[in-house]
């Protein structure tokens, strides 16, 4: 029982990281209207950016978060101009294939420049563990949860309460109509895409701190997790995508309590498939939306 409760705590903190990735993913998909497979590589670049900052400048989490955000923002711009900008009018599989190609390119360049081996992430947060009854919560888990909640709240505030958020949502719902509102659709889509990537980069920093390792090929499975979480939430809805990420994190960690840690992905993707069989539209039930 104690073990199970602690696995729930682990699941929530890992799920929070997945949630941040999924929020980024659904922002990207929402605003560009196209599926991306570069998300894992964006996560990886975010992790490496903070790794080098910690190594050469010092153990400062805030600085690491900023570095991850900027690095993945820049990568997001690259991805936008290569994979989306010219293909909005083209059939959607063209940019889809383009993102697969870009992800291979980025991953292999990363293996050349960062090395193919696992690297240990510096331990920048104290290994303090708090006990609440039978529960054990580490300082790291608290920091992760706070970071995710703060970032998600900032994003939610911008999207729901500012003119800029209205622009972003208008672009994600109807690009032609957004043009007719005088919105610079290409610029707005680019910024939205970069914000989604920036959040994914920070999630990459968090997951590499959590596992205390990072690797140039880490993006593959993490990108799929972000994608799955986002699919669970209906792809473009940030709130439900976050819920999807949390669910996958929990299921994974509960699953490995009854089996071994190497079965992690089986539980994650098994859960995805089960949910999609029962509810193909994911958790979200959109009201008032036109069917796409």
């Amino acid at each position: 029982m104690e073990y199970l409760l602690n696995q729930i705590v682990n699941g929530i903190s890992q799920g929070a990281i997945y949630a941040l990735m999924a929020i980024g993913y659904s922002v990207v998909v929402g605003v560009t209207g196209l599926i991306t497979f570069t998300h894992g590589e964006v996560i990886m670049i975010g992790a490496f950016a903070s790794f080098y900052i910690f190594q050469y400048i010092g153990n400062n989490l805030i600085l690491g978060i900023i570095a991850s955000f900027i690095a993945s923002w820049i990568l997001g711009m690259f991805i936008y101009y290569v994979c989306y900008d010219r293909f909005f009018e083209a059939p959607s599989h063209i940019s889809l294939i383009c993102t697969i190609g870009a992800s291979m390119l980025i991953r292999n360049l990363a293996q050349i420049y960062f090395g193919p081996n696992q690297k240990p992430m510096l331990n920048i947060i104290d290994n303090k563990v708090y006990r609440i009854g039978v529960l054990q919560v580490s300082l790291m888990q608290i920091v992760i949860l706070i970071t995710v909640v703060v970032l998600a709240s900032i994003l939610a505030f911008f999207i729901n309460n500012t003119r800029w958020g209205i622009m972003l949502r208008a672009v994600s719902q109807d690009k032609k109509a957004a043009y007719l509102m005088g919105i610079n659709v290409r610029k707005t889509a680019m910024i939205g895409n970069c914000i989604g990537c920036g959040l994914a980069g920070i999630a990459g920093l968090l997951i590499s701190i959590y596992y205390q390792t990072l690797q140039a090929t880490m993006g593959g499975s993490l990108g799929m997790k972000a994608f799955s979480s986002s699919v669970l939430g209906g792809l473009t809805d940030t709130r439900y995508s976050a819920l999807g990420g949390l669910a996958i994190g929990l299921i994974e960690n509960l699953g490995i309590t009854i089996s071994t840690a190497s079965f992690r992905d089986i539980f994650a993707f098994g859960f995805l498939i089960t949910v999609l069989i029962i509810r193909p539209e994911g958790f979200a039930s959109r009201k008032g939306a036109k069917s796409q």
């Binding site: 003119r163 209205i166 622009m167 949502r169 208008a170 719902q173 109807d174 032609k176 109509a177 957004a178 043009y179 007719l180 509102m181 005088g182 919105i183 610079n184 659709v185 959109r286 009201k287 008032g288 939306a289 036109k290």
Partner: protein, 236 residues
């Protein structure tokens, strides 16, 4: 105010609009009528910069806007209420209206408030449904929202693409009343309609378009009385 000279638009090999010239003067209601596929909507999309033009020039208030990007054209003061309304379904009515103000960066907060009040007066039902999502409105309400959204940018000219499409006759009359009100408030209106008799009865001038060409032009009343127009569009 708006002048289109020798405009042609092609979709692939198909010429949708061939050498159309037309002019809209300030304070007028001008209507383009014609059957399906005549090129009316394409003409409007070309003015808004949403389709590439094969040839021709478009000038607005003396400025050549032929090669401007769509968002800059809107900022010149040209508002285009598209066919099929195209409101943002998951934005609330209020947010839809706010989205309209993006097209006019010179608007300040108090002006936006004034415009909002004006529009709520013009469309009282929108005030009731302020917090509802756009997609949950009925067809007529969505059309009103689309027009109100366009008016929120305080444009000089408003181009309406088939505002009566798919609406009940009583609501169509309401919409045409509104168009007159909008003109009386000092806006110029370019109206596209399949409902030719309604459109011509409120229009100052009209153009009849067939297969991409302007075949007739004249005062609204004259066109309404023209035997060819009567035969083709008004059922004899």
């Amino acid at each position: 105010m708006l002048k289109i000279q020798n405009l042609s638009v092609n979709y692939g090999y198909i010429a949708a609009v061939k050498n159309i010239s037309l002019e809209v003067n300030e304070g007028e209601i001008v209507t383009l009528i014609g059957g399906n596929g005549a090129g009316k909507t394409t003409t409007l999309m070309a003015i808004s910069g949403l389709v590439p033009k094969a040839s021709g020039t478009i000038t607005f208030k003396g400025v050549n806007i032929t090669k401007m990007s769509p968002d800059k054209i809107v900022k010149m003061g040209i508002c285009h209420v598209p066919e099929g309304r195209r409101i943002f379904p998951s934005l609330t009515v209020y947010e839809n209206l706010m989205a309209g103000t993006i097209g006019n960066p010179s608007l300040k907060k108090p002006q936006i408030k004034q415009l909002l009040e004006k529009n709520y007066e013009l469309f009282p039902r929108l005030r009731e449904r302020m917090k509802q999502s756009g997609g949950s409105l009925s067809g007529g309400e969505q059309q009103m929202l689309a027009i109100a959204r366009g008016l929120m940018m305080d444009p000089d000219i408003i181009m309406l693409d088939e505002p009566s499409l798919g609406l009940a006759p009583i609501i169509v009359e309401e919409i045409f009343d509104l168009i007159l009100k909008i003109r009386n408030a000092g806006k110029t209106v370019l109206l596209i309609e399949q409902n030719a008799s309604m459109a011509l009865s409120i229009a100052d001038r009209g153009y009849v378009i067939e297969t991409g060409n302007v075949v007739l032009e004249g005062k609204g009343r004259e066109l309404l009385a023209n035997p060819d127009v009567r035969k083709a569009y008004l059922g004899g």
